[in-house]
Amino acid sequence: MTAAPRWRVGVDVGGTFTDLVAVPAHRTGHDLSRLVAHKVASTPHDPAAAVEEGLRGLAERGVAFADVASVTHGTTIGLNAILQRRGARVAVLTSRGHRDLVQIGRARLPRSFDLHAAPPAPLVPRDRVVEVDLRFGADGTPVATLDEPAYAAARDALAATTAAAVAVCLVGGYAAPAAEAALAARLTADLGVPVTSAGALWPESGEYERTVLAVLDAQVRPLMTAYLTSLRDRVAQLGLTAPLFISTSNGGSVSLAAALERPVTTVLSGPAAGVSAAGLLWPDRDVVTLDMGGTSSDIGVVRSGHPAVTTTTSIGDHPLTMPVVDVEAIGAGGGSVAWADGSGAVVALRVGPRSVGAVPGPVAYGQGGQHPALTDAYVHAGAIADGAFLQGRMRLDAAAATAALDALGAALADPGTDDATGVTDAVLRTATAGMSTRVRTVLARHGEVPDAFTFVAFGGAGGTHTALLAHELGVRRVVVPAAAATFCALGAALAPVRRDLVRSIHARADDAGTREVDAVVRALAATAVDWLQEQGVGTEGELTVAVDARYDAQPTTLTVDVAHVGTPDVRAGLPPLRAADVADLFAQAHTRYHGFADPSVPVVVEAVRVAVRGAQAPVVRTGARDGLRTVAHRRLRVDGRWHDAAVLAPAPDGTTDAVPGPAVVEKGDTSVVVPPGWTVTLDAAADLVLTRTATTQGGDRSAHGA
């Protein structure tokens, strides 16, 4: 053992910047007060170049490669390939009679009141779908078998498509994953291209959704394989021999080998990392994360350290049914355009959905932008100011912003919005109202109301707007974390390895049926424990067992946790699942979610889910010594009034007491607005904590100001 810290390194590759964070581990845990952050410009033509440069930068800041324990890398290469339709040319092999399963999908159109509505372009065109006389019943027995001539015909038809990758998805394949995987392996050997078996990848009932997963997997596999193997080699050439992990969409990470095996599990890892970071940092709180960027704002929901996970998300209009951290867009970003909408009887102000984009950007950036954006309202309001913005790297032309807002005012009908100041108030109120109503709706879907949540803000504009949003929603506590500017990289650094497994079954939760469920649980648990061992992070970890269950004749299922166990216990032998426990836990969950339970109706289990997670890195959140010091004063427009607001900055001689708003904190890359009725402190983890002190309710009343 050496005294030098062991670093966990996280890398987040974004469109503009590649962020890196290194967190030192000491005896008591990972010390966030001493983390090292570094930002370099992204290199979209060769993303690994920026990663390489960033790692060198970390080394220059004292992170010795020899002392690095792990590097966890979040990448959007797969996602971008899917969204830009640059993935590999894929062919599909499916059962006869079901050639159009991708085309038909779930048959819905995106909008009802649209005579021009069109479904997304199919992932695979009809002429690249090959049918074969093979399918399986719900119990996994083959309904038809494949003889050699039929195999050869299918193989040749697939070869004729000249596809670079193949997805095999047979009807009933979820019930016979081994048979389908064997077919895929044979095709891989014969065709010389990667072949994904949908049943082996994700053995859940639902042929369309499973096919989409397999096709997406096949689309990104060649690209991801090339990128990740080259990254591994380049990192090794730097002399960094620590194992590489890849961030996954479920908020965890996997070994490089596991990522190459199932590349589709990584595609939505970007936004997930920030949400799971909040869960790791504040395991005891209920948190709404707000990631406000240039074009939009995303929120995630974390309850008691567990990010809300969804199996109903979509990617480029295609369903993604693996569990991923639930991230929802709630509207405006800093670049959202403020404009006068004259389509109705009177002219009305709108903010978004169009964005000025990075180029030309808001008017205040002075890069040729002509249309005022939300950021221009921040500038006019004094929420962000020239010199301090992005630590002076980006100059702001406040006069240009004001002129553009004045011009917008001239186009609006209201007497109160005829100048830049009136327009600024209106823009901030409109954006806040739009976001707050969306937050309410998203939380209503989770069965929650905002009041009890802490808001954790990160991303470019998160700190600037979050208190206004929190105020409107009646939220009492807002945290802008120390690592706000590199929060997703921090999430990557800390993310434990994690894998989700599923298996569809169809069993009543009576004694006989529960034995069937139990056998599946044991099989999945064994797979999970073996997998954890292969990740090279030790054998300590945690297993969550859940079932998708419903009342007989109910159309939809609920996912119900039925066991949490440590991995050593799995090896020692899981306690058997009991029918009465399954029924009880389901009744509790049903009551919680739907408000009632009906013990007279039999419970049916439709799927078993097992999630395995490696040991979580303990986090130390003390040790920061700075306080807040008033470094200047400036005019700040908030609540419809001008204030002479203190400009605060972290300083060794600053106060750690609560400082009342109105104020602006300039901290790193963010400007944090503290409205009147709120206080701000810099805590021992170097996080800014905003607390509401006024007793007024949020909502319309307080939003009026004087």
Binding site: I104, L109, S112, Q554, D700, R701
Partner: protein
């Protein structure tokens, strides 16, 4: 007076409130209709009774133009309204056509500021069963509304926050699913409570007439936007008619006729000429006024031209409607109404057919226009389950082909995974794919229909209501052709093969197979002008056969390649220019019974007492058809027989008008 900004923000909050109401309802509900088909809605009305705020994309959109005022006035005038009251109704005839059929139970809560009503919360759920002759209450063969279940005239279901026990007792005693209904009613009350809280927030910020100002603003903004959108339509008068396959008591088709007048972004829809109300559940109660449910195609048109238009009652301000008393679209008590959506889906086609003439670059040709929930009822298990809700495609339009195998024109339903069906229903799904050679040909072809083949694994029966377009095919426009007709076959290729047109229930034994091919949608533009590469792509992908490419598109494909010379020769043949592609069956029918004659027939029938009209029409048409070959108009008749039958028709109509 509130500023524009305050009114806009108020509107944003009210729309969000209706979304919250919807989510509250969805979570609290127990019924299949809410969870599976989203057959519910929530909204907020101001004191005018019309909706100020309606959610975008949660639940049923087509009711945005309803008016709760008649229902609440009925109760208020009889017994007064107080805070905490909730009015319940499901009866089209006594609710001012608020409800359109009995399973839709509507609940309305007056929201108060002090002792003054400032607005209303509204919600409805399609409940599982409201009594009547058949389980689930809806059957096309119900002959009056009395067969369709319990009629609930507007009554207080909740008084001062407490459920009225007598009303509750009536409700429970008149449903096969009282527990599920009770859950649905409580879900509606929870939604109305959520709305009350949000409206109270708003009223506290803007006391007095704040909500009224916001409501007027929201509707005026929407109406202005709708008018602007509809000003894309060329001014003029446009007529069109189309048919339902049959009236459920005979095999005679039912006519829906429309004269649409467009003036500066305003629409007048006159349905004079539409057939009389029938003794089956195909009638629609509008009370002769513009009704939200028959205007969904107009809303869709506005939504197409202005995708961001806020949904609210303002959309009703751009349309007037006239439907003569006692007809399909203005049925008089006690006409049955359960399957009114089938009629409305044909109304949609008629509206499209009229308005495509006013905006040929916007509206598509006819969509397939059917939803057939294919249901398997197991003999042993007693279970009744939907295999797939089968639809067709959407029509071709200037600049784009229609969509294959998807059609949101009636309801935007999701289908069922084959694997889930096979694990729970006693059938195997042998084929479920896009139906080749079904699209109406066109420069922009229609969307293809779907093809489903199932094999029964156990004894049971098949139900397939909503089977439409077996007789007259979805029409093409601007030279485009009609889509293929719907076909339902039992045991195709076997000696006991049967082709069905009207389906009540079909008994199935293990091994029996059923094939349903849904209609293809109409094409747009001359198919001989279709891009040759597009025709080839359809041939390569298998959606158009080599033979159809040659016949319908004049494109010769040999071994997967276009034979350019042969194609040029094929396309060089002069052809008659056509506007409508209705298919030969419809052309024969129109040759026998031209629109002018049918208009006169409709006018003459209007002079009879309502109960006599439909039987009289049937008798007359049977007499006309008696001289023609069996199967007409699917089979041709020679010119002399046709002329004779036409003469009979002229004589009978003249006699009736006499």
């Amino acid at each position: 007076m509130l500023t524009v900004l305050e009114r806009e923000l108020g509107q944003t909050r009210l729309v969000a409130a209706t979304e919250e109401m919807s989510l509250t309802l969805q979570r609290a509900s127990r019924s299949l209709y809410v969870r599976e088909t989203a057959d519910f809605a929530c909204a907020i009305a101001d004191t005018s009774g019309r909706f100020v705020a309606y959610p975008q994309g949660i639940g049923v959109s087509g009711f945005l133009g309803l008016d709760v005022s008649h229902a609440v006035r009925t109760v208020a005038e009889r017994e007064g309204l107080a805070p905490g009251d909730v009015v319940l109704t499901n009866d089209p005839y006594t609710s001012g056509a608020l409800s359109t059929h009995l399973p839709d139970v509507h609940a309305i809560a007056p929201y108060f500021d002090g002792d003054e009503v400032v607005g209303y919360g509204w919600t409805f759920i399609h409940v599982s069963d409201i009594g009547g002759r058949v389980p689930s209450s809806v059957s096309v063969r119900n002959d009056t509304v009395h067969a369709e279940g319990l009629r609930i005239p507007p009554v207080k279901y909740v008084a001062g926050g407490r459920v009225v026990p007598a009303v509750d007792a009536f409700l429970r005693a008149n449903s096969r699913t009282p527990e599920q209904n009770d859950g649905d009613l409580h879900a509606m009350l929870a939604a109305l409570d959520r709305g009350r809280t949000r409206v109270a927030d708003l009223v506290a910020a803007h006391p007095g007439d704040g909500l009224a100002q916001i409501g007027a603003h929201a509707r005026e903004q929407t109406a202005a936007r709708a008018r602007r959108a509809l000003s894309r339509l060329a001014d003029g008068e446009y007529v069109f008619d189309d048919y339902l396959d049959n009236d459920a008591v005979s095999d005679l088709p039912l006519r829906v006729a429309l004269r649409a007048t467009v003036r500066g972004g305003h629409l007048r829809l006159d349905f004079t000429g539409t057939d009389p109300q029938v003794e089956a559940a195909l009638n629609m109660v509008t009370q002769g006024r513009a009704h939200s449910w028959v205007l969904t195609r107009v809303f869709a048109l506005v939504g197409t031209l202005d995708p961001d238009v806020p949904l609210n009652g303002g959309l009703m301000d751009v349309v007037d409607l006239h439907a003569p008393d006692g007809t399909l679209l203005n049925a008089r008590e006690p006409a049955a109404v359960g399957v009114r959506h089938a009629t409305v889906s044909r109304v949609n086609d008629v509206v499209s057919g009229a308005l495509v003439q006013a905006a040929p670059d916007v509206l598509p040709a006819a969509s397939s226009g059917l939803v057939v929930p294919v249901v398997f009822a197991s003999a042993a298990g007693g279970t009744v389950q939907v295999v797939e809700p089968m639809v067709g495609g959407t029509g071709g339009r200037a600049g784009a082909d229609g969509v294959d195998g998807r059609d949101s024109g009636i309801s935007n339903l999701a289908n069922n995974p084959v694997e889930v069906v096979e694990a729970t229903v006693g059938v195997r799904v042998l084929r479920y794919h896009v139906r080749p050679d079904s699209a109406g040909p066109g420069r922009w072809r229609g969307g293809c229909g779907l093809e489903l083949e199932i094999e029964a694994l156990e004894h049971g029966s098949l139900l397939a209501r909503g089977l439409e377009r077996t007789r007259f095919r979805p029409w093409g426009y601007a030279g485009g052709g009609a889509g293929a007709a719907t076909e339902l076959l039992v045991n195709p290729g076997r000696p006991d093969e049967r082709r069905l047109v009207v389906v009540d229930t079909v008994p199935l034994a293990p091994g029996d197979r059923v094939v349903l091919r849904t209609a293809g949608a109409g094409g747009y533009g001359d198919p001989f002008e279709r891009d040759v590469a597009a025709v080839l792509a359809d041939v390569v992908s298998g959606l158009v056969s080599v033979g159809a490419a040659r016949r319908d598109y004049g494109v010769a494909v040999v071994d997967g390649q276009v034979d350019a010379a042969a194609t040029e020769a094929l396309r060089d043949v002069p052809r008659a220019a056509t506007t409508w592609g209705r298919g030969a069956e419809r052309d024969r029918w129109d040759a026998l019974l031209p629109a002018a004659l049918l208009d006169r027939l409709a006018a003459a029938l209007q002079t009879l007492p309502v109960p006599q009209r439909a039987p009289r029409r049937r008798a007359l048409l049977h007499e006309v058809l008696a001289g023609l070959p069996q199967g007409f108009p699917a089979v041709d008749a020679d010119e002399s027989a046709l002329a004779a039958a036409r003469a009979v028709a002229e004589r009978l109509v003249a006699g009736l008008a006499g």
